[in-house]
Structure formats: C-alpha cells, structure tokens
C-alpha cells in the first residue's frame, strides 16, 4: 500500500512538472465543439447527449491509454525500469499506483464535458 501511494504521488508530481501531460484535458472542448456542430448542423437534437458524452469517453480512453502506456515507456526511457524491476519493494504496486493516478485524472474529462453541456 505504501508503494502504491508512492506511485500515485510520484505521478501527480511528474504531471505537475510537465503540464504537457494534461493535454487531453484541453483537447476535449475542441472534440465536444466538433461533435456538437455536427449534430446541430444535421438538426439531430436527439444526438446532443451522445455528442457530449463521446468526447468525455474519448478523453478518458485517450488519457488512460496514452499516459498509462507512457508511464512505462518513459520510465524505460529514463532508464529506471531495469533497476526498479530488480528492486526489493514490489514495483508492480508502484506502477499500479502511478497508472491509477493517471486514470483518476482521466475522470476529469467527464466533469468537463458535463459542464460544457
């Protein structure tokens, strides 16, 4: 559990230092506007909910796939993956923590599109 929390903390800390990682959050308004413009232009008010839900799901999906993959990828990039695989603490839970932190952030898009609607 300690390792898990350490993982969560390190991930938030990294994201704070690298605002680029928060990017998906900024792409969502664009996707939402695209979807909305499409359904409004087609005069399909019944699809507005879908149009708003879709970007949120895309956000969640893109965020988790992109970042969670990147956690492992960038770790290897920095060259810490190998030492930490050999480290005594169970690194899996650290990774799990980091990835969960990313997923947690991925929920923000839901709120974001809800607000836009």
């Amino acid at each position: 559990m300690r390792a898990f929390l350490a993982g969560v903390r390190i991930q938030f800390w990294l994201i704070r230092r690298q605002p680029d990682d928060l990017l998906t959050l900024c792409t969502i308004p664009f996707t939402a506007v695209i979807m909305l413009s499409v359904v409004i232009h087609a005069i399909r008010p019944d699809l507005v909910t879908n149009a708003l839900l879709a970007p949120a799901l895309i956000g969640l999906w893109g965020f988790s796939i992109g970042l969670a993959g990147e956690v492992i990828e960038s770790e290897r990039w920095v060259g810490t993956l190998n030492p930490s695989l050999a480290a005594p603490t169970e690194m899996h839970s650290v990774y799990f923590g980091r990835i969960m932190a990313v997923m947690g952030l991925g929920v923000i898009p839901l709120g974001e599109t809800w607000l836009l609607g």
Binding site: P19, C26, F30, I34, V38, V39, I40, H41, A42, L47
Partner: protein, 261 residues
C-alpha cells in the same frame, strides 16, 4: 537561392535519417498511419449516422494531414535538447530554411497518410470519387499540406521561446483547423466573424476546392480556391519568417540561447 535549396535539402536528409531511426515503414504503418485512418473512420461513422458520410469522410481524410504538418512545432525542443540551437543560430544560413527542412519529412508523412485514406476508405464507406478527377486529389492534398506546414512553422517560431508549451500549441493548432475550417460542417455554420477568421486559415479554401473537385464542380472554383489556399500559405510563411527573426532576436537579447543543452 541555390544555397537555400541546398540547406533545405540537407536538413531534409538529416530529418529523414532521424525519422527512419525512429520508424520503420512497418511501425509507421501500424502505429501512426492506422491511428490516423481509424480517426477518419470514426468521423465517417458519425457521418453515416447523420446521413452525410461523404462530407465527413472527405473532410477528415484531408484533416489528418494537418496533424503531421503541424508536428514541425515540436522540433524546436529537439534543437534545444541536442544543444544545436546555438550552433544553428551562429551558422551563416537562414534559420527558417533550416527549420523548414527539418520538418519536411513529417509533411510528406502527412500527405502520404491523407492520400492513403483517399485510396482505402471511400470504397469501404460506399463513397464514389469521380474519375479521372480523382487523380488530382494528391495535388490538392499537397497544396493544403504546404499551407498547413507554413502555418505550423509560424506557430513553431513562437513556441521556440516557450518550449514547455509545445504539445499544447501543436494540439490547439491542428484542432482549430479540424474544428472550424469546414472539415465536419461547412464554414457557414459558424457566426460571421468566425468565418472571416477562418478564411485566413489553411485548409478552408483547400477543402472547398477538394469538395468542388469531387462533386464535379466547375474547374474555375477548384483553381481559385487552390490559389487562395496557396496564398494563405504564403502569408503564413511570411509570418513565420518574421516570427523566427523575432524569436532569435529575443533569444540574443535575453541570453536564452545556450551553448550546450
């Protein structure tokens, strides 16, 4: 001029070498190209749902090229990381030319992706392209690509001073094009002022030309719109040149161009 072209050539060769060190054609196809094609399919499916599959398919098949064309924005950080920015500024060549050459490979990648989308996807969605006009599709895509590339270079010239914002700048740049330039809905869907702004963005006129071509529209419309697209590109190119000079001047003034990294 010969010098400039040689610089362009060599920086394109260098970027090709770096690109192929990163991608093989297989990894490019299965990661990058497939990701772009899926994006087009996604929007085409939405199009099918609301009954305008050809509009969204054509729009998005062209639009995916903008992503690659704007990747030039990311290159600034590369020069800083490898510690070559100072050497580039201290070399007796135009910075903009060097920079444009280094991103050229991504423009090519984008044009190839877009053309592939036009080859593969229309039959899948039952969209018919008129023959032999369809042969001009790659030409139009290249024209749009060039003008998106100049637009990207202009954004890049500003990001050079704020490398931390590069991803944000990249995404906002191409998403703006994808949202407002007639990719998914005609530009007259938007309020007047948006439409006026959008006519100065790349893609708008190129897409109009593309749609006219595919709808067997008058040749004059196609030609005028392509020319307008290229003019927009030229304007962005001029802005990029100004932007680069400004950024280099600013760097020389505040000392942010470092030896090393």
């Amino acid at each position: 001029m010969r010098d400039q072209l040689r610089v362009l050539k060599h920086s394109a060769i260098a970027s090709w070498a770096e690109f192929t060190a990163f991608y093989t054609w297989k990894t490019w196809t299965f990661t990058w190209l497939s990701r772009l094609l899926i994006q087009v399919c996604f929007y085409a499916l939405i199009g099918r749902m609301i009954g305008s599959v050809d509009y969204l398919l054509v729009g998005n098949a062209v639009a995916i090229m903008a992503i690659d064309a704007c990747v030039v924005i990311l290159l600034a950080i590369g020069e800083r990381r490898s510690g070559t920015l100072s050497l580039m500024v201290a070399a007796p060549s135009t910075h903009l030319t060097i920079y444009l050459g280094r991103g050229l490979i991504h423009l090519v990648s984008g044009v190839v992706a877009s053309v592939t989308a036009f080859l593969v996807l229309p039959p899948l969605f039952g969209v018919h392209l008129p023959w032999p006009q369809a042969l001009l599709v790659p030409v139009l895509i290249t024209a749009v690509g060039l003008s998106c590339y100049c637009y990207g270079a202009c954004v890049a010239s500003f990001v050079l001073g704020f490398p931390a914002a590069r991803w944000l700048a990249l995404n906002i740049s191409y998403l703006t094009l994808m949202t407002f330039c007639g990719v998914n809905v005609p530009t007259d869907f938007w309020p007047d002022w948006v439409r006026r702004v959008v006519s100065f963005l790349p893609m708008t006129h190129g897409l109009t030309a593309m749609r006219a071509l595919i709808a067997n529209g008058p040749a004059s419309t196609v030609v005028t719109q392509v020319v307008l697209e290229l003019l927009v590109g030229a304007a962005w190119f001029a802005l990029a040149a100004v932007g680069f000079n400004r950024m280099v001047r600013r760097g020389r003034r505040d000392g942010s161009i470092e030896f090393g990294a």
